[in-house]
Symmetry: D2
Subunit: 138 residues, 4 copies
C-alpha cells in the first residue's frame, strides 16, 4: 500500500452521502471505527453503479474485487445522525490489483481518510487481469 | 407464533455464554437491540453443534432453517462486557416449521426473552418435512 | 403487542428508501435477519426528522423511546443492492408506550412486516407520559 | 504507523479464541472484512482483562484508548463457524499513543495480520501520558 489519501475533496471523483445510523454508534456515542469500512464499501458500490459498472454487471463479467488491505486514519469522530460525505477515487492500478482512496467529511471538515487495496479475481477467487475500465478510472 | 418464552432457566435445554462486545453497544451505552438476534443465532449454532447437528451436517443433509419470524421482549439492558447466558429450547415443531425460545440472563437476572420461528427448507429454499431429530428436541 | 402491521402501503404515513449494503448480507446471500431492525430504526429517525421531531429535539425535550418489544415477520428475502422502501406508522399509543408498524417492500412487493413497541422515558430511563405530538401521529 | 505485524505466533503475548458468527459473514460466504476489526477489539478487551486492566478499571483510572489508525492485511478468508485464534501484542508505545499488532490464525494457518494505533486520552478525549503499565507491555 503506497497511496496516501489526500485531504482535498477535489482529488476525488465521486461522493456518496449517508447518515450515521444509531446502530452504528457505540458506547462512546460516536460511530464505531468498524463502521467506516461499511461506509466505504457502500460508497464503492454507488460509485461503480454511477459509472455504469454496477455490482451485477461486474459479477456477470466474471469479476470480483475483494479487499486485501485496508488502512484508515481516524481524524475526528463521526456522531449519530451526522450527514457524511464519502469521497472516493481509484488511486492506482496494477496488473491484478488496484487501490482506492477515501475522504470522509462532514460540513467540509475532514473526519477520516482511508485506502483499500483490491485484488481482481474471477468468480472462483483466482487472480485475473485488471479490467481496462478500472485502469481508466485512475 | 404461539409460544411464550418462560422466565425460568430450568425450562431451557442448553446455555451459551458470551460477552457483550463494544462494537455491539450503541450511544445509549447498552447492547443495541439488534445485537440480541445475533446472540440468539450464535446460541442456536452452538446448541446444534452440542447435540451432534452442527451447521455443516445440517447443510450436508440438505436442510436449512431460515428465520421466518422473530419476537423479542427487552426487559433490562445489557451493558458492555457483561457475561450473558443465552438459554435456548426447541419449543414446538410442526410439519415444516419449528419454534425456539430464548432467555437471556446476567448473573441469574432476566434481561430478555425471545422466540424465533424457523422454516425447514432444502438447499433451494423449498419447504420440506421437519427432520425427526428436530421434533425430538421439543 | 396487539397491533398487526398491514400489507397495504396506504396504511402507513412515511416511507424511507435505502439500499441493502453488502456488509448486511450473510452467507445465504440475503440481508441478515438482524439488519431489518436497523432499517426500521433508520426509518424511525427519518420519519421523526421529517415531522419536525429529530432525535436531537427529542433528546433536548428530555425524552427517549427505547425499544421494549420487536416482532418481525419475514416474507421474502432482501437481496444485496435491492432498493427497499420501509413504510412506517405510529399504530397505537398508551400512557407511557407506543407501537409502530412497518412494511418493507421492493418494487411494491412485500418482503416483511414488523412492529416495535417503545417505552417513553426521561433521559434517566424513567417512564414518563407519552408526548401529545406522538399521540397525534396515530 | 511503523510496526509490521509478524506472522510468527510466538511474537504475540496473548491469544483470544472466537467463532465466526453467521451474522458476520457476507454474500461471498466469508467473514465480512469489517468483522476483523470487531474481533481485534474483543481480543484487546480480553487481553487487558487478563493482565488485570479490564475496561472498567481503565475507565475508572480516567483513561480511554480510542483507535486512531487501523491497518489490516487480509491473507485468506475466514469462513462461517471457523475457530479463529487472534494473537495480540503491544508493539510500540510513545508519549501519548501506542501500537498493537494482531495475527489471526485458524489451525495454525495465518488468515490476516493487523495493526491498530491508539491514542491515550482522558475521559474527555484530551491526550494524556501513556500509563506505565501500558509501556511495560511492549
Amino acid at each position: 500500500m503506497t497511496f496516501a489519501a489526500p485531504l482535498d475533496p477535489a482529488a476525488y471523483r465521486y461522493v456518496h452521502r449517508l447518515r450515521v445510523r444509531f446502530a452504528e454508534t457505540d458506547a462512546m456515542a460516536v460511530a464505531h471505527h468498524a463502521s467506516y469500512l461499511i461506509y466505504m464499501e457502500a460508497t464503492r458500490v454507488e460509485y461503480l453503479r454511477a459509472i455504469g459498472h454496477g455490482y451485477d454487471e461486474v459479477r456477470a463479467a466474471g469479476n470480483d474485487f475483494p479487499v486485501i488491505e485496508v488502512f484508515v486514519n481516524y481524524l475526528r469522530p463521526l456522531r449519530f445522525d451526522e450527514l457524511v460525505e464519502v469521497h472516493v477515487v481509484v488511486a492506482t492500478s496494477g496488473p491484478a490489483t488496484f487501490q482506492m482512496g477515501y475522504l470522509l467529511t462532514v460540513d467540509g471538515q475532514a473526519r477520516a481518510t482511508a485506502v483499500t487495496v483490491h485484488a481482481v479475481t474471477d468468480s472462483q477467487g483466482r487472480p485475473v487481469r485488471t479490467p481496462d475500465w478500472v485502469r481508466q478510472l485512475v
